[in-house]
Amino acid sequence: MLKFCRNKLISIKKEDNDILSVHGVLDDHIYGLTLNVKISISKLEILSVNGKWNRWTTPECPRAELFLKEAAGYKIDEEITQKIKKNIGNKSCRHFANLLIDCCFSAKEAALLIKWEQAKKENPDLSIEEFFQQSLQDNSPSSQTTKDDIKIKKIEAKVEVKTSDKIETNACFDKNEIKGFIVDLHVHTSPLSPCSFASVDEMIIQAKKIGLDGICLTEHNHLWDEDEINNLRQKHGFNVLCGNEITTDQGDMLVFGFNKDIKGIISLEELKKQVEKSNGFIIAAHPFRGFLTFNVNDLGLTPGKAANRTLFKYVDALEVLNGKVTEKENGFTLQVAKILKLPISGGSDAHEVFEIGKYATCFSEPVTNNDELVTALRNGKFSPVIFK
């Protein structure tokens, strides 16, 4: 029996010599919606967008229609998917965004088809395959996704652990009971982390304001330059540290004391080898971050089963307080950490100014530079803390 089905239909006609009229329909078990999009052929640019719900879920979903027009002016280039997801998906609705992306991809193909027909008038031997292949090379995704020289290797090892199925959700890491040097160990800033909405200066100013002792910048697959960090320390008179949030085949990892700028996806096994060589430290970031409307335990996952995941063989600690996940998910991670007897940390995972300092990590001694940070992590002298 089908558990879920989504149908999308996209029809495109030429409105005039430079405008495509795109009509998209999305209809699935949950949502029904339509889009009408005008796109310039010569500029490959969205001229206008109008959308309408047919079926939706919450009583406030109709608000989404108002924000669709903000996509006008977007160029259909290599950034379009990210741009639509970030702006239309967040401000309007991610299902409208999904259909809009498909409409844009279709329009790009339609525009190419029209251009090929025009080119063929001058060169009757030009095959459609030749023409499209050339356009694909011009827009190679490999030039959009920076390759890493490290090859993905399949991880086969298994960790044997004892089983515990109880989920703990009321762990207490009260800052009033944990004294020490408090650092928000997981912070993203814009533009280095494309998903962040706050500049590094805004984040630091807020961190100082709320009384943190320091912050650690952990951009997605981007390594801060040590000189830049020093400049920020001096400019703000505040402890600024840095690590890196690296995406692996087993999820996101917070990595400290490792100076290689990894781009693309690396296998966790390979990352571990390299980080060990540089005496660095790996924390599994939000290892059980679930979904928007359901949790991992709704799928029948228990801490005992989860602790068997291969990834835990390759990490030094688990982030059990992450500001972007639910209390249940943090509690679940804590249970797994207890089974595995791994050290635990906390961080806000802030992407906006108001998010900073929700959770943090408390060190027993001050950590004022990256070397001290790695030493403190390797010595295990830290614990997660609920900061605000």
Binding site: K8, E60, R63
Partner: protein, 162 residues
């Protein structure tokens, strides 16, 4: 002015519960230039991809016909937060096939939506406001994630930003 279409696309993505432990998700595409399918089987409760297949039976891009090998890199990956970035990184690394990446995202997304449907099925038919208010209260990640849960919406009234 003629109203004849210059391009038409149909995309159907469906999710089937194969047995207690396995779910199959298939995306089928048929448009003016392409005919293809991508199919994955995921194992519960980890949502781990244990099988991945695809075939492009019609395309103007020659390299699309070799997509099957690239898809094998997904074996062992879990569908969860951040999976789209992993797909893009793994599948996009050695084959220039944006459509394959998109269809793979669609099959993974559909698996998630199939569970979302189970949750939303619990909402009352009328007066569902309270249900959704509780949902965003229980999972602050929903706050400001779309227009329905943005400041100004009645569903987040009285809620502090997370």
């Amino acid at each position: 002015m003629t109203n004849i279409l210059c391009f038409s696309r149909n995309r159907c993505t469906s999710v089937e519960q194969m047995d207690e432990n396995n779910i199959k998700s298939v995306c089928r595409l048929q448009d003016t230039l392409t005919e293809a399918f991508v199919e994955i089987i995921v194992k519960l409760p980890d949502l781990e991809i244990i099988s991945a297949n695809c075939e492009f039976t019609r395309s103007v891009y020659k390299n699309y016909f070799n997509a099957q090998k690239s898809l094998q890199k997904l074996l062992g990956i879990r569908i969860g937060a951040g999976v789209l970035k992993i797909i893009k990184g793994l599948v996009g690394e050695d084959i220039n096939c944006p459509e394959l990446i998109y269809m793979t995202e669609e099959v993974c997304h559909a698996v998630i939506l199939s569970f979302t449907k189970d949750t939303l099925d619990k909402a009352p038919l009328t007066d569902s406001k309270e249900f959704y208010q509780k949902m965003v209260k229980d999972n602050t990640r929903l706050y400001n994630r779309c227009a329905a849960f943005a400041p100004g919406s009645s569903l987040v009234e009285g809620l502090d930003p997370p």
